[in-house]
């Protein structure tokens, strides 16, 4: 029952109805109810009923996307927060008109440790479903204004570089051959941007090309992305308070509570389409929602 979709009351009712057609064969009744559950789960593209933990937080960006998609229709959603501003611009209509699903991926440190050991490129994407076509993908990084470290000149300017890992060093490269120097993965620069550390906002990077290659290429094509932050004037990683401007990982001594971190951590948004005739275009823009003239 824990993995079932239907609650006990509904299940019993279905079994009673199934009994009219199958006599007393309990196995057949169960099979019919299981078939109902299977078709419901298929509708959601799920294999089993999701069982999230009690403290699970939905990233604000996803709430924001839902709210934007609903337009004026979200008023009766008690779970959707309305009092905040995410500082996140909505994806372009060009993206939402070609997709009907937006899926969010957080950076999983555990995968990084398992797969890359001492080399620490980020791994955001944990496999693609074959029935979905990835239409677009964005990497979202939150920037928090840092005021007290501002120096003269361009010290407050940071450069963000996004790389795709094309090839990882082989495991034997970690041995004697490269003793003393860390083997580096082969990377390709996807995007670079100069940002002002005195502003708070979300930075979005189009990583569609990389995710398309991951979903269409061989299973092991996805080695992840690397995000690099350097100070523009020194070309070195930010130090001290300036490190807090763009947080790629949770700081052990962080003042950000767990509940807040889930809303600020790097996020990969993948937009896909399952071939069915809907899109994520905002409701108010869809002509089908308008009432027909009498």
């Amino acid at each position: 029952m824990s993995s079932g979709v239907l609650p006990k009351v509904g299940r019993d009712s279905l079994i009673r109805q199934a009994a009219k057609y199958t006599g007393d064969a309990r196995e057949e009744e169960d099979a019919i109810v299981n078939e109902y559950e299977k078709s419901l789960l298929n509708m959601f593209s799920l294999k089993r009923r999701p069982t999230p933990g009690k403290d699970f937080q939905v990233p604000r960006i996803m709430q924001h996307l839902y709210k934007a998609h609903m337009g004026d229709y979200y008023e009766h959603e008690p779970k959707i927060m309305r009092t905040w501003e995410t500082g996140f611009d909505l994806p372009a209509d060009e993206i939402t008109s070609r997709a009907n699903t937006a899926r969010s991926y957080h950076h999983e440190v555990i995968f990084e440790r398992q797969l890359f050991g001492s080399v620490s490129p980020s791994r955001f994407f944990d496999g693609a479903c074959h029935c979905f076509v990835v239409r677009a993908a964005e990497l979202l990084l939150h920037r928090e204004a840092v005021w007290h470290h501002v120096t003269s000149g361009s010290g407050h300017m940071h450069r963000l570089n996004i790389y795709e890992i094309i090839k990882m060093p082989r495991s034997d490269d970690f041995g004697s051959k490269f003793a003393g120097s860390k083997p580096q993965p082969i990377t390709r620069l996807l995007d670079t941007r100069l940002v002002d550390s005195r502003n708070s906002t979300w930075e979005r990077f189009d990583v569609s090309q990389a995710t398309s290659r991951w979903s269409q290429g061989p299973h092991d094509a996805n080695h992840g992305l690397i995000v690099e932050v350097v100070q523009e004037d020194r070309q070195t990683p930010p130090q001290g308070a300036a490190r807090r401007h763009i947080r790629l990982k949770r700081d052990v001594h962080s003042d950000i509570p767990d509940k807040e971190w889930v809303h600020l951590r790097p996020l990969l948004l993948a937009y896909s389409h399952d071939g069915k005739d809907t899109t994520l275009l905002r409701r108010s823009k869809r002509s089908s929602r308008k009432r027909d003239a009498p």
Partner: protein, 117 residues
């Protein structure tokens, strides 16, 4: 005159039309993984498709002919069916079985219009 009015009223009440059906995710205890909406108006279609079929029921030519044939001889064919003719999609924000947050627009989840087919 009163009897005619009553007949007309009953006929209007039994005509093919959209009825309210609200699917409450809380009642089936799905709100732990469906974040929004808390439920949605699914509606359903029910009623008679008798000849003559009103314009607003948007009947197909075939449905009109079938209704006419049924009126002539009900043993030849049943009445046309009252079915959804326009369906709407419902966007859902939910957690999948890997606890990834997904926003998906599900097509044909609710009835917008009913008609005779």
């Amino acid at each position: 005159a009163n009897s005619s009015k009553r007949r007309k009223k009953r006929r209007r009440r039994n005509l093919c039309q959209r009825h309210n059906l609200y699917v409450d995710f809380n009642e089936v205890r799905w709100t732990n993984w469906i974040v929004a909406p808390p439920g949605y108006d699914a509606h359903f279609c029910q009623g008679q498709c008798s000849f003559p079929i009103s314009d607003y029921l948007n009947a197909t030519n075939h449905a009109i002919v079938q209704a006419l044939v049924h009126e002539v001889d009900s043993s030849l064919t049943p009445k046309p069916c009252c079915v959804p003719t326009v369906l709407v999609s419902v966007p859902m924000l939910y957690l999948d079985d890997k606890s990834k947050v997904v926003l998906k627009n599900y097509p044909e989840m609710g009835v917008s219009k009913c008609g005779c087919r």
